[in-house]
């Protein structure tokens, strides 16, 4: 079986990516019982790991239901006594969180859309089209994230100020449509890495049929890139959700504030209201947990590429 790796790439009619789902559908093994045992072991390992992973979350929940005195009691308690349910109404009414949620979602809408489209397009160009200076340009882009933002922050701020865009969402959203300018390079790089591992024969076949690069990008590459697209969506969404410094700098009027800024008020300069901070944090991260839970299923479905088989 020379070239275990080669059949796919060398044979356009059966591209590697038409992967059979390995799990479950792989040929029935003779060693069913052994599998069962492995499975049990796997379960144990995962369960142990999960406990370690979930500690902070449990801790967050219990702190959200405690008074400040209890949060730091020594030795620490796991069960609130009594349950400080009032933390929630108190935290959520201390700031206009509905307004902050709306603001955050508006920013999310623009940033996620802009980032996914422009970053994947650029990455397609860097990974699958040949043009002079391509690698130099990519290197330049990547260099943009190697310079600490602390020193580019002021010039960038001055630029937006000159453009009269302070206290608007423009500085927070517009760069997303330029491949996320700056930090977005990581997304281009990520898309590029994935695109590079898709067999090139797919493109070639399409070009023979008269397709142009846009068609290849849109009809062939992107459908194959669901898992990585999901990763970029998740990361971008969470990035905006938690971005604190950007909104802090560019937004002045507190009716424009975002959730992350709202949270920060519970741990302001020199003071902290821990119980409220934990309660508000818990509420604020719930949507992203749900988002992740929903989106991660694409990490399975991404490989069912039966559509390509024809």
């Amino acid at each position: 079986m020379t070239g275990v790796l080669t059949p796919g790439p060398k044979n356009p009619s059966a591209p590697t990516a038409t992967a059979v789902q390995r799990r479950g559908r792989s040929p029935r093994t003779r060693v069913g019982e052994a599998r069962g045992l492995t499975r049990a072991g796997l379960w144990l390992v995962l369960a142990f790991g999960a406990i370690v992973m979930i500690v902070p979350f449990v801790w967050l929940i219990r702190s959200a239901l405690m008074t400040d005195a209890q949060i730091f009691s020594s030795p620490p308690a796991w069960i609130p006594d009594p349950f400080a349910w009032e933390n929630f109404p108190q935290a959520l009414t201390a700031q206009p969180f509905a307004r902050y949620f709306l603001n955050t979602m508006i920013i999310e809408l623009f940033v996620v859309t802009g980032t996914v489209i422009t970053c994947s397009l650029s990455a397609f160009s860097f990974a699958r089209l040949r043009w002079r200076g391509r690698n130099v340009v990519f290197g330049l882009l990547l260099s943009g994230v190697m310079l600490p933002y602390a020193v580019t922050l002021i010039p960038t701020f001055v630029m937006w100020s000159e453009l009269g865009a302070l206290d608007t969402f423009i500085p927070l959203t517009v760069p997303a449509f330029f491949a996320g300018a700056g930090g977005g390079v990581f997304n281009i790089f990520l898309f590029r890495q994935f695109f590079l591992s898709i067999p090139y024969e797919l493109d070639e076949a399409a070009y023979i049929d008269g397709a142009n690069p846009w068609t290849v990008y849109w009809r062939i590459i992107m459908p194959l890139a669901k898992p990585v697209t999901v990763v970029v969506v998740i990361f971008t969404f969470i990035g905006v959700w938690n971005d604190f410094l950007g909104p802090l700098l560019y937004l002045t009027d507190d009716s424009n504030f975002t959730l992350a800024l709202g949270l920060a008020t519970f741990q302001s300069t020199y003071t902290a209201q821990w119980g409220l901070l934990m309660a508000a944090s818990l509420v604020v991260i719930l949507p992203i947990i749900v988002l992740f839970f929903v989106l991660q299923r694409y990490f399975v479905e991404g490989v069912t590429l039966t559509g390509l088989k024809g």
Partner: protein
């Protein structure tokens, strides 16, 4: 862009205007935003935010043409202010950290208030130590509020253990040994043993007598009481390697490791529960901290008291506060000055009566009626008059970080040095010697002028 009230046509115009300005077609478009807005920039907890916004709303009522706009910046205040300074978007009035305030003043970015002191007596008659003069006759303003370092304590803990409560007047201030003795009485492990009893388990302490805070604001008063200061009168040589200073730091270290009546930094932890929480829960008997903690302490449901600091000779404490300044670019100097006076009036801001702030005008420390206006309430215990007000007036000295030049670098070095000391593993005299060598090697660059007497 549906649903986005913030990307309105006005903003699109702004962008257009900004672009036009950049290419030099019309610079005026970008500059016309803002109208008659007056920005007040500040930080603080949600409680402080509410109080300041209420104060600003009160001031708004006195104004017809001016819109007062609160610019609340919960964190990374310096970062935002730097960005605003660099881009020429400074607020009209705002909190500023001391070192940055001096820097901005020297750069001509802050208004000199000295010429206006006669016109606004409430500006001119404040505690002498509260002023920030960057030159002999140029003053960028005063502290936003005054604060003093005092001792807080849990009355129940004292009653329980038979310890004497900390004295409420400077004249009766404890000497160090009395302080330590009482801390011994307060400290107990889980099985009720005191540190001087056999079988005391230092890893299972139920209550610590006191805190050995290595925060410079907390030890500065002790240092002064020992008769020395951080710098000598020239401002260029440190006194932190003097025998008195070494002795003071050794005493603090001993509280943790020798007497075991105070938690070590590792027992306490960074971001630890606030002092108020520890006092209220009985985990702590007493603590030296800033007067502002009165807000939290008085709101935590327990019987507390306040007292003066122990003394190593002459009773002394630290007075401090971050400056509030008017930015030189403001078009509304008169209104800015009015607001400047307004914001420090206990009748307008409830942060004075709630315990967070102490007033700046001297009359609030001397005139009984004025004193009652901000202390006659539940937050201020009866002994407050002697333990805090008189103590401040008679025994306080301004925090050195408000006066030293190059204080950021100095402060970083002092902080990392005290972190070494508080591990209890290094020889205090050696460490202080190293600190002094570095400080005296050009890091100390003198002091800013004091208020003219």
């Amino acid at each position: 862009m549906t649903g986005s009230p913030n990307l309105s046509r006005r903003d699109v115009l702004k962008i257009g205007g900004g672009l036009a300005a950049t290419v030099g077609i019309g610079g005026s478009l970008a500059a016309c935003s803002g109208g008659n807005e007056f920005e007040y920039m500040f930080w603080g907890s949600t409680g402080e935010q509410d109080a300041i916004e209420a104060m600003l709303a009160g001031f708004q009522d006195t104004q017809e043409d001016l819109t007062i706009k609160p610019v609340y910046t919960p964190a990374d205040y310096d970062t935002k202010l730097n960005a605003l300074v660099a881009s020429g978007n400074v607020p009209d009035l705002g909190y500023v950290q001391p070192a940055m305030a001096y820097r901005l003043a020297e750069q001509g970015k802050l208004l000199d208030l000295a010429p206006h002191f006669d016109e606004y007596p409430s500006l001119g008659q404040r505690l002498p130590g509260s002023y920030f003069y960057w030159e002999e006759d140029k003053c960028l303003g005063t502290q936003g509020a005054n604060e003093t370092v005092i001792t807080f304590y849990n009355r129940a803990a004292f009653a329980e253990t038979g310890a004497q409560p900390p004295p409420a007047s400077a004249a009766e201030a404890w000497d160090w040994d009395t302080y330590v003795e009482n801390a011994y009485l307060l400290t107990a492990d889980q099985s009720g043993r005191r540190p001087d009893e056999a079988g005391f388990d230092p890893t299972q302490v139920a209550r610590f007598g006191t805190l050995a805070s290595m925060w410079s604001g907390a030890w500065y008063g002790l240092l002064l009481s020992a008769g020395v200061d951080v710098v000598d009168s020239s401002g260029t040589r440190t006194m932190l390697d003097s025998p008195e200073a070494i002795d003071m730091f050794q005493k603090l270290v001993d509280l943790m490791y020798e007497h075991r009546v105070a938690p070590s930094p590792s027992q306490l932890g960074n971001n630890a529960p606030s002092m108020a929480v520890q006092l209220a829960s009985g985990r702590l008997g007493m603590a030296i901290d800033g007067q502002w903690a009165l807000l939290d302490v008085s709101q935590a449901d327990f019987d507390f008291g306040v007292g003066v600091l122990p003394s190593l000779g002459t009773p002394k404490t630290t007075a401090m506060g971050g400056p509030t300044a008017i930015f030189a670019d403001t078009e509304y100097v008169e209104q800015a000055l009015e607001l400047y006076a307004f914001q420090s009036d206990p009748d307008q801001v409830d942060l004075f009566s709630s315990g967070l702030w102490m007033p700046l005008e001297e009359k609030y420390y001397t005139d009984p009626e004025a004193i009652a206006s901000w202390t006659d309430n539940d937050a201020h215990p009866p002994e407050y008059k002697t333990a805090v007000i008189d103590y401040t007036l008679e025994n306080s000295q301004t925090y050195f970080t408000q006066k030293l030049r190059n204080v950021e670098e100095i402060d970083r070095l002092i902080t990392s040095t005290t972190e070494r000391i508080q591990t209890g593993e290094e020889d205090v005299a050696t460490v202080m010697g190293e600190l002094a060598a570095q400080l005296n090697d050009g890091m100390l660059q003198g002091v800013y002028p004091s208020a003219p007497q």
